[in-house]
Amino acid sequence: MTSTAQSELARDAEWQRLDPRMLLVHPIREVLRFLPVIVVVVLGSTAAGGEQWQLIGVGIPVVLGLMRYLTTSFRISSGRIELRRGLLNRHVLSTPVDRVRTVDLTSSPIHRLLGLTKVRIGTGTASTSDEDRIDLDGLPVDRARALRAELLQTSTADDVAVTDRATDRDVLVFDPAWVRFAPLTGSGVVIGAAALGAGSQLLQSVGFWDRFDPENVDVPGVPLGVLVPLLVLALLVLVSLLSIGGYVVTNWGFRLTRLGGARGGGETWHLSRGLFTTRETTLDDERVAGVNLSEPLGLRVAGGARLSAIVTGLSRSQQGSSALAPPAPRRIVERVAREVLDAAVPVDAPLVPHGPLAARRRWTRALLPALALAVAALVPVALGAPVWLLVGLLALPVAALLARDRTRSLGHALVADHLVSRSGSVVRRRRILEVDHVIGWNLRATWFQRRAGLTTLVATTAGGSQAVPVLDVPEDEALRVAHRALPDLMGQFSDSPANLDDGCLA
């Protein structure tokens, strides 16, 4: 342990407040939060001519900020982190240092201006309440980094050495050219839709829609047939720009670094990103159970993908801390996956298809609803409903394409001690889970599946979405995969244990 780290801990052992510069951050933030109230107060008092009201309007947030600063303190002593806060309700949060699983540093623009950062200490608790979070809001960046190194080292290895800078290596560095993928992701569409919704709400609140009359739209010199496509085009451009904006704000400066095991073997992954608010996450390599390579349709067509980690102790609600690569070119994302897994085979290995019966299930499941929709369109038209209802027939070819693609996606493999499973079309996912992190098996089969001799094999795990499903795999193959992954488990419950070792396809 270095002398600086030692003094760091010694300093942390006493109850102490956060950085005094937070006295600047809190009032600014409170003023922003109370801005509408303050505006009303200021306007009202200007009209009434009373200046003391203006003082109160600014004063209350400042006092609140001061109170928060004075009432929050923390210490790290005898192996525990303790955080005290609250003015009226005293709240003491305490957790053992060796339970610390992640340390995130988040710096808003105000923080960055003052050289501060917010430290969020993650313990993998199931509680989602804000009250139970351990946030040290406002430490100088250097001190926060030292604290992070300290906390994560104590929890991973006892013999702590200096981080060997020489073994640190950048695995992924953001390339601005990747923003071309932004409009193609699902989140791009969501951001766009949200912005449109907000815009429409705004128009509604000024009474635009009441006065808007489609019959009377009249832009001089432009016929309606040109105007509508123009508007659609403008909309597409707008949504694209918004999603590019969102992508840049979140992922600018994305950098994934491997901090090398010079200190007692514990390798960690370090990730930082963000344009305005920067965020740094550190993951312990031992807790990275696998990766999830997902390709939303738009991204897949453009040759892109994104990558997140399945991290033991981080559940779905904390996915934010587990991104490994933003939407980026597929070959780059795959390279990152290989490096994180420390194995190339699971990423590249060809997958075993699930056979004709699984394919038939893809087709029936896609075609039946589409058929119902087509009938629902045909019958009214035959009875004299408007002809445009026939667009319902489009459901059939769309469903066929979907079924074909879903069939092609379907596959699994068990290679190099990793379970690989791929499925999906609109969002195709290749999930790769290290066999050591498989906690148990669920085999789920509906009556239809049983009739086709198929089952959905689910490997349960303690990270990510808690489960890696292998969809509609033939039952004997599911058994062989499960048996090869965790020997000595399935054999005792099998009819013919001897046959388990033969002919595993995966």
Binding site: G440, W441, N442, T460, A462, Q466, E475, F493, S496
Partner: protein, 163 residues
């Protein structure tokens, strides 16, 4: 090689009284929508239903109450060995769960309102995965107690931190 390997069913059945409990649960389950239907179409007069809709509803509900509990009883089974826990639950969708003893974290014994009426209990063995809890419902109370003790001893005997 004589045929493809297949998973056999777990060896133990749950208590036959579980059928009664599941029947009661099914009755309560269908009671709420039925009452809502009657109130909405009768006194409130939100909508009127033709006689065949009522007939259909009655047939579906009666079939559900009459068939599903017995079907469930045929499916629900469990087995505990020295190294693993194996459960089978469901009716239309059958779910088999297998977890190594070394991954069992906690063992819960719960007696719900309906269970207590019939002297039954539910035993749940949880793992570190939220998707991996093994639940055996409709066990005889004594059997459940013994199972909890058994599981606790066996899970303790295995080393490791179960994650």
């Amino acid at each position: 090689m004589d045929g493809a390997p297949a998973l056999r069913e777990p060896s133990q059945r749950v208590s036959p009284r579980a059928r009664l409990m599941w029947t009661l649960e099914a009755v309560v389950q269908v009671a709420f929508p039925t009452v809502a239907l009657v109130v909405l179409s009768g006194p409130v007069d939100a909508f009127g239903l033709p006689w065949w809709a009522w007939l259909l509803w009655v047939v579906v509900v009666a079939a559900y109450v009459a068939v599903v509990p017995s079907w469930r009883y045929l499916v629900h089974r469990w087995e505990v060995t020295d190294t693993a826990v194996y459960t089978q639950t469901g009716w239309w969708a059958r779910e088999r769960r297998i977890a190594p003893m070394s991954r069992i974290q906690t063992v819960d014994h719960v007696e719900g309102v309906f269970s207590r009426l019939f002297g039954l209990a539910t035993v749940t063995a949880t793992t570190a995965s939220a998707a991996g809890a093994l639940e055996i419902s409709g066990l005889d109370k004594q059997v459940a107690r013994r199972l909890v003790d058994d599981l606790t001893v066996k899970a303790d005997a295995v080393e490791g931190d179960a994650t």
